[in-house]
Symmetry: C2
Subunit: 227 residues, 2 copies
DNA sequence: TTCCATTGAATGATCGTTCAATCAATGGCA
DNA sequence: TGCCATTGATTGAACGATCATTCAATGGAA
């Protein structure tokens, strides 16, 4: 969880438990963000306190207000971390995909179900933020730019596919709106009924939609019984 | 908001503001549930306190613990009220619809976007509950039976339609799963971007999906630019 | 007068935040 | 290298605010 990005200092001096007492700001901030994700997933935002976060991180109570302006700031940085992580993933998938528009679009879809992105823990945190009625505008404006880019790219791809295939009954914008709804809706199903769904099947549901809308450009996945 | 169900006592004696001081348990409970919906929509679950609820209801602080076992019990009764309200609506729509399976199914879809059900306030409350990570199991088991019925009915209808039309590429169960995901996902879009979507357009998105999956049984809605 | 709904002050618990004290790492100096 | 002063990270007790809940007192209906 972000540990890739942040270098741990070389082990020079360690306390009896093998942990350095002091670390760089960067390391501590990520450590606290990771602990916040764990705490929200387990206790919800309402049940997440400075105590739960610092206890999970194995640090002392006062340290959050040293590395973050406030608890609210810690929450916002946590949301931003998840948004950036997702953004990196789909952008990388997009770049590495084949050159055709369907391949590019399917890469974006698939990125939603990567093991690093689509974990029960992170889904719980996403919907914890989305569900915070009092601060929806704050959270939305935080990730708006990041989300907008994905929307725009998908719209461009769908327009190209629709043009190429002469698909006229559902305009590209509506296809993208349905796609975006499906991401969220299927994520919520995965979160609510984890025993009934697998990531791969969830992904196939979206692929099936695309195969129906753009039949000459996407292959219908094979569905077994159940799932 | 439920006011239809609960009779206000006849006005016999009123205080200077024109309100009776005492009311039946039934009236007070609904009054507090309505106030809870308002409070959650405005402040979130975390920001909803005994004070915010009783202030909105125009009652005194201590009254919630007189009519409900606890704050948590008030929250659960509120969720249950919304679930039952939704259940009533789609069941009535289902009964009043035409006899064919497509008509029945579309009635269930449409019920999700009734003005009484699909309000910004109530959507905010739904997702506030879904987002509560710490108590997801509690809330889920509360509404599970109610939701299961809709799922089963929809599955039966889709099976009938698939049989009738010889649709074989997406099994009925997967169609229903996608439908359920679309309800949630489109509700979330309506909640997050209320300025970009209208209820009727949101409903057409689902109708468009059905027209693609069961083309001989559902008509593709006409999409204008935008929306 | 009886009964029950209603009130709101009081209580104890828990929260976010502050900050003086403490600890460890680093750089300069001998 | 060995030693010390400086810097900055870390700790946790303390504080004030806010919360859910309790309950004795009050009000109104029958």
């Amino acid at each position: 969880m972000g540990c890739i990005l942040v270098r741990q200092s070389p082990i020079e001096k360690t306390n009896p438990e093998g942990r350095r007492r002091t670390e760089s700001k960067e390391v501590r901030r990520q450590q606290l963000i990771d602990a916040t994700i764990d705490s929200i997933a387990e206790n919800g935002i309402g049940g997440t306190t400075m105590s739960t976060v610092t206890e999970i991180a194995g640090l002392s109570l006062g340290i959050v207000n040293f590395h973050f302006k406030s608890k609210q700031n810690l929450l916002e940085e946590t949301l931003l971390f998840l948004a950036k992580e997702h953004h990196e993933q789909w952008l990388e998938a997009f770049d590495n995909a084949g050159l055709s528009a369907p391949e590019k679009l399917l890469a974006i879809v698939d990125a939603h179900f990567y093991p690093q992105i689509c974990t029960p823990k992170k889904l719980a945190v996403w919907f914890a933020f989305f569900g915070e009625a009092g601060r929806r505008e704050v959270y939305r404006s935080l990730i708006n730019d990041i989300d907008q880019e994905r929307y725009d790219v998908a719209l461009r791809l769908c327009s190209e596919i629709a043009e190429d295939g002469g698909y006229k009954d559902i305009p590209p914008r509506q296809v993208v709106n349905i796609l975006e709804s499906l991401y969220d809706g299927i994520w919520l199903e995965l979160l609510t009924y984890p025993e009934n769904f697998q990531r791969s099947v969830a992904r196939d549901h979206i692929a099936a939609f695309l195969a129906k809308v753009y039949p000459d450009h996407f292959r219908m996945p094979a569905f077994k019984n159940g799932g």
